[in-house]
Symmetry: C2
Subunit: 281 residues, 2 copies
């Protein structure tokens, strides 16, 4: 496994692999890897000839007052973990390598980025689409892999690839969870033991929503109220949003019909956690 930090070295390697006709699988990450990332990598490795992981904490997708500075970083640990999945190449650039002085170009997906996390974190998705657009051009993957946990991100990136006619497939794999059901996230590290114990309420509330729907409930308002109520019982939890949206345009729906996404964001102290389930009726 190679680790490169500069763009010319990366481009050389990618061009060589492309010329050999190798299929490239790509997992973009912000590092501090967990089992969710590793499951993406294993699939990327199995489905392609050459597997690339990027590790870059992208300042552009953090808002003022968010956790860019504190975001956990450990390249040595990440390198070992990625290596264990058969990763062929790690690209771990500096901020200056990605955004040199005078940087001026941005990729924006409209509409889909307005609700959910886009409403809570203005500018977040502009940062995501810009950096992922750059990484796609740098790595030239045939397939790129993302986790269902960041459902809106996956929808937005699929839209970007489709609209800009990019030559790759965006593949979304199921959320990997801790034994008690909490979705894996690098931010779980921030939780105090008490918060960590309480955080399972997020997934539990989503499971209960699925159960309500299975029993025939179709009123989005009633299901959202129930989720909010369950979460409010956790002493340290503060609901950021609970939304039920259609799975194409991510518009809020009053009645559950077809394929819908139930998405929740909850704050435990300064730590913001998200989770979601896809339902189909």
């Amino acid at each position: 496994m190679q680790v490169v930090t500069d763009i010319p070295s990366l481009k050389n390697i990618i061009e060589e692999k492309k010329q050999k006709g190798l299929r490239i699988g790509f997992v973009p990450t912000m590092g501090f890897l967990h089992e969710g990332h590793l499951s993406l990598m294993r699939t990327a490795k199995a489905e392609n000839d050459f597997m690339v992981v990027s590790i870059f904490v992208n300042p552009l997708q953090f808002g003022a007052g968010e956790d860019y500075e504190e975001y956990p970083r450990d390249l040595e640990r990440d390198t070992k973990m990625a290596g264990s999945t058969g990763c062929d190449l790690i690209f771990s650039p500096s901020v200056k390598e990605m955004y040199p002085p005078g940087y001026a170009t941005f990729v924006q997906v409209e509409r889909l980025t307005e609700g959910l996390c886009g409403a809570s974190r203005p500018g977040h998705f502009l940062g995501v689409t810009t950096v992922v657009g750059k990484l796609f051009n740098l790595v030239c993957p045939d397939r790129a892999y993302f986790g269902q946990k960041d459902a809106q991100q996956a929808f937005v990136l699929q839209k970007m690839v489709q609209d800009l006619n990019m030559n790759l497939e965006v593949i979304v794999l199921p959320t990997v969870r801790e034994p008690d059901g909490l979705a894996m996230s690098s931010r779980n590290k921030y939780l105090s033991p008490e918060q960590r114990q309480e955080a399972v309420v997020i997934y539990k509330s989503l499971i209960e929503a699925e159960e309500q729907i299975r029993k025939g409930e179709r009123e989005a308002g009633i299901i959202k109220e129930n989720i909010a109520e369950l979460i409010s019982k956790a002493r340290h939890a503060r609901l950021d949003y609970v939304e039920i949206v259609d799975s194409k345009e991510l518009y809020s729906v009053p009645i559950i019909k077809g394929r819908c996404l139930i998405a929740v964001a909850v704050k435990f102290g300064k730590t913001r956690l998200i989770d979601n389930v896809l339902v189909e009726v």
Copy 2:
């Protein structure tokens, strides 16, 4: 020479050429070709193995009240002209093929797009970078060719390619002119015989500016005033802007130093013409 109008056919052809290792040269146009376009095509043909021309009047780069509807279109004539330069493939999509219902993604270059034509035509460059970004992803060129006449466009596209790490070279070729010096443009067709005769004043004023600089003048204000005065003498001409900017960030400069762009936009009735010269002192 093939002519394709749909994206899947285009992608098939491009993939086949790429797999053979052919170098692709690309000339994006809005059609109604003239000698300026043809000179780009001849160079693209000479420098590459496979030469692609796109013909697409891009609604996204026209503002309200601009000439999108009237913009001259003649695919049959264009096809013949492109064919005469050795063009291998014409891509001539419909608006719906490029912007299907629900289209939501845009590429924006900041700063460089604020002055000059960007100030006169808000949103114009957002349309240019978005469509050219899409076309680059569709055609996968090794080199793309643009004319110096649209100097700001060329700078903006070079910036986009650099910032987004796109895998191609943007090549800018000299403006091709009518015998009297008027820069070739599809919009020259709009001019009445009288306007056409007067329009040469644009290039003459730029030549005189070069002459002033050769003689030692360095005050941008004085040079701009002289250009404005010359243009005001043409009865049907209305100056849109005259600017002298540095050739990197396109910031207005008070003193001519290093490489500068002298750029002019002039309206003859509803027809807006642009021209420019690069000077170096």
